[in-house]
Structures are given as C-alpha cells and as structure tokens.
C-alpha cells in the first residue's frame, strides 16, 4: 500500500513539473515545391579584403535550399497561444559581419533581448536594420572596434543591410515569444517545452511569406507539423 502510494506520489511529482513547465514538442520540416529562382553570384570585387576570404563563389541567400527540397533559414514560431513571457533572456544574440556577409543570414531574438553586432572584417561596415515598427537606426562600425549593443522592443521581421556593401543582406526576426526555431541544413525545426494547449504555428520565409497551422498539445507528445512553400521562379 505504501509502495503504491509512493509510486502515485512519485508519478504525480514527475508529471506535475511537466504539467507546470510543459513538455510537448512541435517539430517538423520545411520544404518547397517547384523550382526556386537561381541564387545569384555576389560580386565582391569592390572590397578585395573580403573577396579574398572566399575560395568558393558566394551567392545570395534569399532562398537557401538543402537536399530533399528542404528550406533553410525559415523562422518557425508560436504566434498565438504561447504563455506570456515578460522577461527577455539575459543572454545576448550575436550577429557577425565576416567576409562581407552576415552570419547568420537570419537571426531570431526576443523583444528586449540584447543584440551584439560584431565586425570581424578589415573594412568598416555600417549596419542598417530597416525597421518599420521599431526605431530605424544605422551605425558605423570601423574594424577592430568593440561590438555594438542594441535591442528591439516590438515584434517585427526586420530587413538588415549594410550601407557600405550593397550586397550584404540579412534579417532580424524579433519575436514576442521564446518558442521559435530557425530551420537548419536539414530543413528541420523543433519547438519543445510546450504546455498543453492550442497553438498557432507560423513559418516565415523572407521571399515566400508566411504560412500558419494550428496545433493542439495535450500532454508530452511530439506533434509533427510540416510546411511546404511554393517556390517562385524569379
């Protein structure tokens, strides 16, 4: 009797954190159908210090694909139903300018989270997030100067350019929720630690737009949700 009670208490104790902190996961793959536009070669000849860092040709990263028709750099996040999270994480996210490219091409972060911009090149860059909802700013960063520190207060997908090197292009996905994932080389994404509830999952691709799907989590299960975008020829 006592063992059974202990067992029940232990199970309850094990389950209750899961009930409190959530253990459901939404994961899946992002793929495309059709033929995406060819990524164009980037001519860096005007900046020899960057051009010489690349041994293979550099192309635009508007649509980055992987084997089996997967799409990289797609931001998948909970757009509705996620519990409110008021405090931003203290850890900063880093955006690096290297070889006159932005690394990563798409950087996701929380509203109010610190963004560190690093210049790893021998040339000056001028980082210019073209924000429409947040405050628009641009800042020059000479080589060898300390990282810039900034943050965004409102949710927005912000196109980022360098004023000095027109081919440099990236995105900031500033999100209210911390339940986000950027698809990697295998096109996969994963949104863990979800308490039971009804969620709307949104996938955002910079050229193809957004898609949403509704998912319900009841317990600790992993729900598979796949997104498929129609490629544009141009």
């Amino acid at each position: 009797m006592r063992t059974k009670q202990l067992f029940i208490v232990a199970s309850a104790l094990m389950v209750s954190p899961a009930l409190l902190f959530g253990a459901g996961t939404i994961s899946g793959k992002v793929t495309y159908t059709g033929t995406p536009a060819k990524q164009k070669a980037i001519d860096m000849s005007k900046e020899p210090s960057c051009a010489k860092q690349h041994t293979t040709p550099v192309t635009t990263e508007t649509v980055v694909t992987g084997p089996n028709n997967v799409l990289e750099n797609v931001v998948v996040y909970i757009s509705a139903g996620a519990p409110d999270e008021s405090t931003a994480p203290t850890q900063a996210v880093t955006f690096t300018q290297k070889g006159c490219q932005y690394l990563p091409h798409v950087l996701a972060m929380r509203t109010g989270q610190e963004l560190k911009v690093v210049n790893d090149d021998q040339t000056s860059h001028n980082i210019h997030p073209l924000a429409k909802v947040n405050r628009e700013w641009n800042k020059s960063q000479p080589p060898g100067t300390p990282p810039l520190s900034e943050k965004f207060d409102k949710e927005e997908f912000i196109s980022v350019k360098c004023n000095v090197h027109p081919w440099m292009h990236g995105f900031f996905a500033v999100l209210k929720t911390s339940h986000y994932s950027v698809s990697g080389e295998n096109g996969g994404f994963s949104l863990p630690n979800l308490p039971p509830g009804k969620y709307t999952v949104t996938a955002w691709q910079e050229d193809y737009g957004t898609q949403t799907q509704d998912v319900t989590i009841t317990g600790n299960e992993t729900k598979t949700v796949d997104f498929s975008f129609k490629a544009k020829p141009y």
Binding site: K40, A41, S45, T62, S124, V164, P166, W167, M168
Partner: protein, 298 residues
C-alpha cells in the same frame, strides 16, 4: 622682464624694423622664399616625393583622347612653373635689396612704372590664355563634342550608395526596363529589373566590375540611383558626374589591356571613400569568354 616692449620698437631706431637687422631679415626672407620655391619645383620635375619612389605623375594614359589633355597639362605646367619661380625669386630679390636701402636713400621707381606692369600682364597672360585656350578647346571637344560611334559597345552603369553596377544588354541586344520600386539589393536586383514580366530583361547581364574589350569604343550610359556620384578613371582621363534625374553618358576607347580602378569622386555619403569598381580591359577573346561566364551566373 615683465614682457613689455621698448617703445623704440616702432621708431626708426629699432634694429629690426628700421636698423641694422633689417638687411638680415630681408635676406632671410629672400633665402627662405627662394628655397621654398625651388624645393616646391623638385617633386614636379622629378615626379617623385623627396627621397622616395612615391610617384606623383599621372598614370600612363590608356585612352585615345587623353594625349591632348596630357599635352595641355605639360604646357600649363611649364608656363605656370616658370611664372611661379620667376615671381617668387623676384619677390625675394626685391625684398633683399629693398631691406638694405638706407632710410636716407631716394625712392626709385621700377622702369616703366605701372604701365609696363599692365602691358606685361596683358601680354604674358593674354598669350597663355590664347595658346592654352585654343588648344584646350580641342582637348575638351574630343571628349564632349563628338558623339559616340553608332557601333560602340553599349553598357549601362548605375551608381548608388556605395557601389557601381554595370549592365550589358545580353544576347537580345536590348536593355530591359529598370523599375526603381523593384530594386532589391539583397537579391542582387540592383537595377530593379522585372524578369517575371519583362522578357527583354531576362538576359541582361549585371556585374560589379566593368569589363570591356581593348581598342573598341564603349558608350557608357550613366544613371544614379540615389545621390550625386562621379565616374573617375585616371588612366582613361575621364571624369563625369552622375546626376540624379539626368541621363548622362561618356564614351571612350581603351588602348591597353589591364585592370584599372574606377573611383567615385562626388561626395555621396559615408561610404564615399570605399566606392569603387574595377575596369577590366580585356582582349576581345577574353572579353567574349568573360561575357559567357557572367551570363551563366545571372
């Protein structure tokens, strides 16, 4: 010593302004001005900075029209240089002599007085203006008053903060229509082309370097995306501003294979110092190969 100056400083007894040291000061001025004048001429004559191999000469002219400009420049340099040296040395000489003359000497007037100066100026400057003006008009006309040959290679260039991009018409020989509202630099669509709807733009070749065949006239049509810029290639002896809203152009023929820098010379913003592209003058065969390569990358 409380810093006060003897009242004698301004009276004729003052050793510097009116007395014994006057002559010394005058000689010092004459020597300094002559040394400066001669020293200034050295880098012009040697085309190099003092005791170094840093060259100041304009680079080798690789254009068909540039020799007239270079001749004009040398002629002006000789006349200006001689005038400069003569004026500075005369200044030194006259100051030297004048500072030695005693206050009891009579004032002497330069023979001919003001009249000879007016005539000298009219003759010297007048002939210089006539000679250089007439010559110069031809040099200018060669660049600006001759239209581009009808079979010149047509290339478009767009200047925008802070890079030059170039467009070749491609196999169909026609340039697609640019749409400012469709410009998408992150996607390498610098000219705002609309290949989805505009067939002529589909084969346009857009590059970040200007490659041209040697000994073939090029007609470069110039357009600005945003603010004023300028196209300057020293070796081509070409400089022309891009003006927003104006369709301008230059035409030239390059006579030597090589890689040259195109730099922006009109202040256009923070990246002005870093706004350049390479001019690649290639043999016809190399140029054709380059075009093929670029077409495949579009």
């Amino acid at each position: 010593m409380d810093g006060r100056i003897s009242p004698a400083v301004f009276l004729p007894e003052n050793p510097v302004s009116s007395g014994k040291m006057r002559g010394r000061m005058g000689r010092l001025f004459a020597i300094v001005v002559t040394v400066i004048a001669l020293a200034s001429a050295v880098p012009i004559i040697t085309h190099h900075w003092f005791w170094s191999d840093i060259s100041f000469a304009p680079p080798e002219d690789i254009s068909t029209h540039g020799h007239a400009i270079d001749d004009q420049l040398s002629d002006t340099m000789v006349e200006a240089g001689l005038s400069f040296l003569a004026a500075q040395i005369l200044l030194g000489l006259f100051v030297w002599k004048s500072a030695e003359r005693k206050s009891t000497d009579a004032i002497k007037t330069f023979p001919g007085g003001a009249r000879i100066m007016v005539i000298a100026a009219l003759v010297l400057v007048g002939t210089e203006i006539l000679a250089l003006g007439v010559l110069g008009q031809k040099a200018w006309a060669n660049v600006y008053f001759k239209p581009a040959a009808p079979d010149a290679l047509q290339i478009q260039t767009q200047a925008g903060q802070f890079a030059f991009y170039f467009r070749y018409p491609g196999a169909d020989g026609k340039f697609g229509t640019p749409h400012p509202d469709k410009i998408d630099e992150g996607n390498s669509n610098f000219f705002g082309l609309d290949p989805a709807n505009d067939v002529e733009s589909r084969d346009d070749i857009v590059t970040g370097e200007l490659a041209i065949p040697v000994d073939r006239e090029v007609h470069l049509m110039m357009h600005s995306k945003d603010v004023g810029h300028s196209f300057y290639v020293r070796e081509l002896r070409i400089q022309q501003d891009f003006v927003p809203g104006l369709d301008l152009s230059v035409h030239f023929t390059a006579t030597k294979v090589g890689k040259y820098e195109i730099v922006c010379t009109q202040l256009c913003g923070l990246g002005h110092y870093n706004m350049k592209a390479y001019l690649n003058v290639l043999s016809q065969a190399d140029f054709d190969a380059w075009m093929k390569q670029k077409a495949s990358e579009q």
